[in-house]
């Protein structure tokens, strides 16, 4: 590789815009050329140093960050909240927290908390005695307290099976265009094996949270509490991720100016986000057929709009929602027993981490990702309960892929993550895609290509996932889009509406690059969604809505956020200015 190519690829790496091919080439080069490796390392270090020197510090933003830290820290002083935190600890851990608090300065939160706890437990007369005793105990306990805590469980070890080699594709036959109609029966079949609680449809949105199952007792109260104190003021990292930059407010506004009818859709999105805010449970969750899944979907709707904990209008529901998800994760990393809900929660956690870079979200996210990686079948698919038997389920697989891809975008670097996504791509191309070219099937047997049975909704799933996995030009995507040609969002006057399918098809068509077809779909999708939105901002009738309307509202919102949620991978920057074709040798820089 010559110096110019090397310089350009390194610069793209620093930009976060390096293509997979470019990355492979640069990796090979730095491995083969020690001098290039040294230069690469030095350039990367300098890049970081210069960034720090040149970054602006805004006074208003500093104030906002400070206010948030102070506000949350004061809430931590609430004795009830602190007791709740202590309640989950062992006696030894409780004593350690109290003693550490008393050792801290009088103005500190830890001191206030410890004092409040002692006040609660003892009468004022005995408090001073207790403090004196505690101080004596500190002397004796100093050494054991200072010992490092026992190692935390690291979650389920990843034991991926060896990958199967992809089978050569059978010739694919184009099929005539067909309208998409997701039937109730189809949706019922998709969800038939779900573990969702059928009685939860009667759940009261305002009801207090139900006690967690013992096996899934939340085990991360400390993580949740410490997250609460963090100043996630604004999207910090999306500038490095080209497909996400549409979520920043200025870019979003700019994009919307180019979308016909977007003034009305954006109003609808804001009304919907307000409805979700008004219908959030006091504990931060959203109710529905599965609380974890609904909380994840609602969060995704906010995050797609670029809303983060520091946002003025919707910062609070985002904060509460993320905190609620954190408390739902068990020690092994499961956000839920339900395979859909776990993936949706992990997806939301990944997007939250991408947009906020809150460090406390990283470990729960990684744990969630590990569960999915560990649950992947050798051929790359997934099934209910992460079973690894013969059956695969494309619908379940779709949510797992979205979660893993979001984790990759978030910068999570777990062994096997990229390989798992590659395996899923091979699975979708070789096994979930029906041999008769009818699209993607709902279920099948691992190790063999489905002969027939492609369904429109699953074709949306498979097509979008392959686009996300870097296969937008594959024959399966081409035929998938063709099968969805002239499709319409299924929204009858009465009965169930095909929002599950609509969520996928909207994104697949947006990413597909067929402008005329996209404009056609977009127009009818906009019209139907705007017409069906209730005055308070919510939608009903979704094919999987149990009466809380969170499911339908979240998915409809995500449809209307498609314009800026993930920018199309096919989009190219217009080059309007002719470039001077000058040699890099002419570059001359010096330092006075």
């Amino acid at each position: 590789m010559n110096e110019q190519e090397f310089s350009l690829l390194t610069e793209e790496y620093l930009d976060g815009t390096l293509s997979p091919q470019g990355r492979a080439a640069l990796q090979a080069d730095v491995q083969a050329n020690p001098e290039h490796r040294r230069i690469f390392e030095e350039q990367a270090r300098q890049h970081i140093r210069i960034h720090a020197q040149t970054s602006r510090v805004d006074f208003t933003e500093s104030q906002r960050i400070a206010v948030m830290i102070v506000d949350i820290a004061q809430k931590h002083r609430d004795p009830n909240a602190f007791m709740e935190l202590l309640r989950r600890k062992t006696l030894r851990e409780r004593l350690t927290v109290l003693f550490q608090g008393l050792r801290a300065g009088k103005g500190t939160t830890a001191y206030q908390n410890a004092k409040a706890e002692l006040m609660r437990r003892f009468t004022p007369v005995t408090v001073s005695m207790a403090i004196n005793v505690a101080l004596i105990l500190i002397i004796f306990c100093w050494v054991p307290i200072m010992l490092p805590p026992p190692p935390k469980p690291e979650g389920v070890p990843v034991t991926l099976s060896s990958t199967s080699e992809p089978q050569p594709l059978e010739p694919i036959v184009d099929v005539p265009a067909a309208a998409i109609r997701t039937t109730q029966r189809e949706i019922s079949q998709i969800l038939a094996k779900s573990n969702l609680d059928p009685d939860s449809s009667r759940a009261d949105v305002t009801a207090p949270p139900e006690p967690a199952n013992d096996a899934f007792q939340a085990t991360t109260p400390v993580a949740a509490a410490s997250f609460a104190a963090l100043p996630a003021s604004a999207p910090l990292s999306i500038g490095n991720i080209p497909t996400l930059i549409g979520r920043s407010a200025p870019t979003r506004i700019g994009i919307l100016k180019t979308i016909p009818g977007s003034d009305r859709t954006e109003t609808a999105v804001l009304k919907s986000l307000q409805w979700l805010k008004n219908n959030q449970s006091p504990d931060g969750s959203w109710r529905g057929q599965d609380i974890t899944a609904m909380t994840g979907l609602a969060l995704l709707a906010y995050l797609a709009h670029g809303e983060v904990p520091g946002s003025k209008e919707f910062g609070e529901p985002v904060t509460k929602g993320i905190k609620n998800l954190l408390t739902r994760q068990d020690a092994r990393g499961f956000f839920s027993k339900n395979v859909y809900a776990h993936a949706i929660a992990t997806y939301a956690m990944a997007e939250a981490f991408t947009l906020t870079r809150i460090l406390e979200l990283k470990t729960p996210l990684e744990k969630g990702v590990r569960i999915i990686l560990d649950g992947q079948q050798p051929n790359g698919g997934f099934d209910y309960n992460y079973r690894k038997e013969q059956r695969f389920d494309t619908s379940v697989t779709g949510w797992q892929i979205q979660a893993l891809k979001a984790a990759l975008i978030a910068g999570i670097k777990l062994p096997g993550l990229e390989e798992a996504l590659q395996r899923s791509a091979r699975f979708l191309q070789n096994e979930a895609f029906a041999g008769d070219g009818s699209g993607f099937v709902y279920e099948g047997k691992n190790g063999s290509t489905a002969a027939k049975g492609g369904r429109p909704s699953m074709t949306g799933v498979g097509t979008l996932c392959l686009q996300m996995l870097g296969k937008p030009a594959s024959p399966q995507v081409r035929i998938g889009l063709k099968a969805l040609h002239k499709a319409e969002l299924d929204w009858p006057d009465s009965g169930k509406a095909g929002v599950y399918s609509g969520y996928y098809v909207t994104q697949a068509k947006f990413q597909g690059g067929d402008k005329a077809e996209w404009l056609r779909w977009n127009k009818q999708m906009q019209n139907k969604l705007l017409a069906r939105q209730h005055p308070d901002g919510h939608w009903e009738q979704g094919d999987y809505d149990n009466g809380s309307h969170v499911y339908t509202t979240a998915l409809c919102t995500l449809m209307l956020e498609v314009y800026y949620r993930y920018l199309p991978t096919y989009a190219k920057q217009p080059v309007s200015v002719p470039l001077k074709d000058r040699s890099p040798e002419e570059v001359s820089v010096d330092v006075r």
Partner: protein
């Protein structure tokens, strides 16, 4: 803001004046960011650790004794958090996982071994940036102040991407030379 003024602000925070904490954050953010850049393996890591450091700083501000060393105190917090993060990141990047990311993380790990030298480098970088001629400084401003991608930067300056990349390489090299000269002098 000098250390004495900073201590006055901290004293107000310790006395319960929460508004003063905003001024403290404003006063130390940039310094902390530059400090963290001496060892961080990515720009994202700087921002992540910076946020965590500010939280720890506030929660423990009562422990700080007013001796004109508040910035050093917060740098100590930031350094500990960064060390933890770099070590964790080095564990995530498996040997064969991603060569490029591994190189950057290893460089960050090595920088921690030469802590004083690296921190001295970043202290002098500002002076070196000021010494850049106008054209080079403009390129740096576009690249970093305005956060312009290499593609947009090339278009903005009516150059090829390769030319722009080579120019940035050379500017960074010159800045490195300048920093080394400053440190040794």
């Amino acid at each position: 803001m000098n250390e004495a003024e900073l201590d006055q602000l901290v004293q107000r925070v310790q006395a319960g004046d929460t508004d003063a904490f905003g001024e403290v954050v404003f006063a130390i953010r940039k310094e902390l960011r530059i400090f963290l850049s001496a060892h961080a393996s990515s720009i994202d890591m700087i921002e992540e650790v910076l946020q965590s450091a500010l939280v720890v700083c506030y929660e423990n501000i009562g422990k700080y004794e007013l001796r004109g060393t508040f910035l050093s105190w917060t740098k100590g917090i930031a350094r500990n958090l960064l060390l933890k993060e770099v070590k964790a990141r080095s564990r995530y990047v498996a040997p064969d996982e991603d060569v490029l990311d591994r190189i950057v993380v290893e460089a960050a790990m090595n920088s921690l071994k030469a802590q004083d030298r690296e921190e001295a480098y970043v202290e002098h970088l500002r002076a070196c940036l000021d010494k850049l001629p106008e054209t080079s400084r403009k390129l740096i401003q576009q690249r970093y102040f305005s956060k312009t991608s290499i593609r947009d930067l090339a278009r903005l300056n009516n150059r090829t991407e390769t030319w722009t990349a080579v120019a940035l390489f050379r500017i960074r090299d010159l800045l490195k030379d300048c920093m080394m000269r400053e440190v040794s002098s």
